[in-house]
Symmetry: C2
Subunit: 411 residues, 2 copies
């Protein structure tokens, strides 16, 4: 009956094997769907505790029924009645709004996928960590904006954070079992995005549709623009710093257009351990789900002979200043990561609305950091502090927008 | 005083930290010298028990004095007097000949480097394993010719075999902590040698000086010719099979001209873990020396941005039949590996002496295997059996030599 031992929990006391209790926060997004795809292939090994969604009530109801969850919560309170009606006749509990979201996140589970996008994911993810679940982390803000607070909570709960980003999952896999002092360098790879070979002048005139044309991954608009500016990799440097307690001097970025090697860990004996795979988020999700074991995942297998060539180059921080900004933010510490992230969100939004040009994204972020040294160095003790700093940084970035308005702006 | 914790042994009883007792069999060869180079950089962490050499008495005496060994043994009995005279006035014990070699190998030590080349390494390496040392294995014959006997002894002694070949060390590093049933494929890389892009006709006319022109590694003549025929990789498939208990269906070879990625381990979730490094044997030696920890090694660090490109292609088993022969030998089991290895040594010797052409190397090996099915399927219980089969296979290969005599043979 229980075919996959790796996805089962063995109770030491009774030696009884029981299905693992898992929750998925952000079930209707791409990571949530992929997670449930894996779980659905071996349903007897899992018991789904809670599923939450943002606003897609119909899909959430479908998933809740399909995976026989105990609790389904829609974040948008306006979705409550629709969700309740859709689940009438089932024994699935229904909730809506922030309180219900936190209750879902805090409901005891062995493993929680934290895949709520943006600042909205901060409190629910923290709640999952607090109750001691193994937490698979797909939300960037937890580490970028609130890394110190978040990692302190992980330590307090004596749990393990399992990164779901392909680069950080790769880092965790490649450094498995290695003592931190033996790690000389952790090198995250970046595809280089659509503008890898563009000149500064070409980049200055780049339009949103060109920036959204990512060579390897199909992702949301925000992260695709972040890939084009390399801010995505800058944010990942911040995440890696918190996840692995690595100083900025040990963190590096390598441009690798094929997106096959996701991370390289350089060790003190000259060995470099790397994780490779075809681009498919189900691989890092499966690693987090089976950790510390491995499970089967139905992904395309890597065939290097078929691919033929892997290429690598150093990033050009002149054309892609986001990497330099991320390093400066790492050096600054404090709340600089929160300000960077908030300013970048405002800048990307403005670029997509054609209010500023492509190069102005990094310029606006840099100007916001420079204009808010009080904010970046402020100390904070809670997620509410972080959210307040985030709001203030966004307001500041918006007030600076006019300075970077593109001559051809249509907005 | 003891700076590197990773290279020290902690005595559980007394909690006292003492230097690790190590021996190097084959100390005057390239692997032995590299091992002692690493040990010499942190002398207070190691106590050298025994050093052995083949015939280079002068160098052995120098190393014995430099590393304050307890025992120095020269395999060639004619070297005894010279060695004794060179070590007069020291308290180093001196020995010569096979008995003394076995005594050196069997002297209690925490870690033994088994780097005696060829069939001569079989008995001393087995002796080191028997006394329970962690054994770093640089001798190919132990696994190729006597893999079953050897691995049974490793299991009996409850010790660990640490491969020093760069590909097998890479495999061990990349599969660290992974359960065998989660490994889908282990892929050893091969540079492809100097004839990677040559046609069959060009290869037929290839001369020894051309075959000895290896693109990446500087090695002995025998192994360089084995790299040109890909027999080296065939032998490594046999070694990997025994080392990691992997069936032939899970073992593969990938041509990778830059020799940077040494092995790729494909896992059930789509992840591939790989070990990379600049070509320097001190990296796998350091891994074996510090295992299960890591130590510092003064090797050139890998810079992929500087390298730019890594390329991969499937091996061409038409031009390089050695890989097919190795697979057939793996399927056959029994003593087929012993016959393959013996016939290949005779063939390489004949090629270097310009008695047969380059393509005849594999042909002679294949003919020897075909002519000795009684021998290849014979069962054997001891190293003496293996040595007898080896001798019989060599005689058979020599008797078949004339059939493959090159038209332009000079010998």
């Amino acid at each position: 009956m229980f075919s996959s031992l790796t996805s089962l929990t063995v109770d030491i006391e009774t030696r009884a094997v029981r299905p693992r209790r898992i929750s998925v926060l952000g079930a209707t997004g791409s990571i949530g769907e992929s997670t449930l795809d894996l779980i659905g292939r071996d349903p007897s090994s899992y018991q789904v505790v809670a599923l939450t969604g943002g606003c897609n009530v119909t899909r959430l109801a479908e998933l809740a029924v399909q995976h026989r969850t105990e609790l389904a919560v829609i974040a948008d309170p306006r979705g409550y009645a629709t969700l309740r009606d859709a689940l009438v006749g089932t024994d699935i509990e229904v909730g809506a709004g922030e309180e219900a979201l936190l209750e879902a996140a805090g409901r005891p589970a062995d493993w929680v996928m934290a895949a709520i996008v943006g600042a909205a994911g901060l409190k629910p993810t923290l709640e999952a960590v607090r109750q001691g679940s193994l937490t698979a982390l797909a939300n960037k803000e937890c580490l970028v904006s609130a890394g110190d607070i978040f990692m302190a909570e992980v330590a307090r709960a004596k749990t393990t954070l399992l990164p779901v980003d392909s680069e950080h999952s790769a880092a965790m896999q490649a450094m498995a079992g290695c003592r931190p002092e033996r790690i000389e360098r952790v090198c995250l790879t970046a595809s280089g995005g659509p503008f890898r070979c563009w000149s500064v002048d070409q980049m200055r005139a780049a339009r949103p549709d060109q920036a959204l044309n990512h060579p390897n991954w199909s992702m949301g608009q925000k992260v695709t623009i972040d890939s084009a500016t390399l801010m995505n990799k800058g944010l990942e440097l911040l995440e890696a710093h918190h996840l692995f307690s690595l100083p900025v001097a040990k963190l590096d970025v390598l441009i690798h257009p094929q997106s096959i090697v996701h991370c390289l860990v350089h060790l003190s004996d000259g060995s470099v351990l790397a994780q490779l795979s075809c681009p498919d988020m189900r691989t890092p999700i499966a690693y987090s789900l089976a950790w510390p074991e491995r499970m089967a995942a139905p992904t395309k297998r890597l065939d290097l002979a078929e691919l033929g060539t892997l290429s690598f180059e150093a990033p050009d921080e002149h054309r892609f200043p986001a990497l330099r900004l991320a390093r400066e933010v790492l050096d600054a510490g404090g709340s600089a990561g929160t300000v960077l992230n908030a300013a970048n969100e405002v800048a990307v939004e403005a670029f997509l609305a054609e209010k500023i040009g492509f190069l102005a994204i990094a310029s606006l972020v840099e100007a916001t950091l420079a204009a808010n040294t009080g904010l970046t160095t402020s100390r904070r003790g809670s997620v509410d502090d972080v959210l307040a700093i985030d709001a203030e940084a966004r307001a500041s970035a918006r007030s600076l927008l006019a300075r970077f308005a593109s001559p051809g702006a249509t907005g």
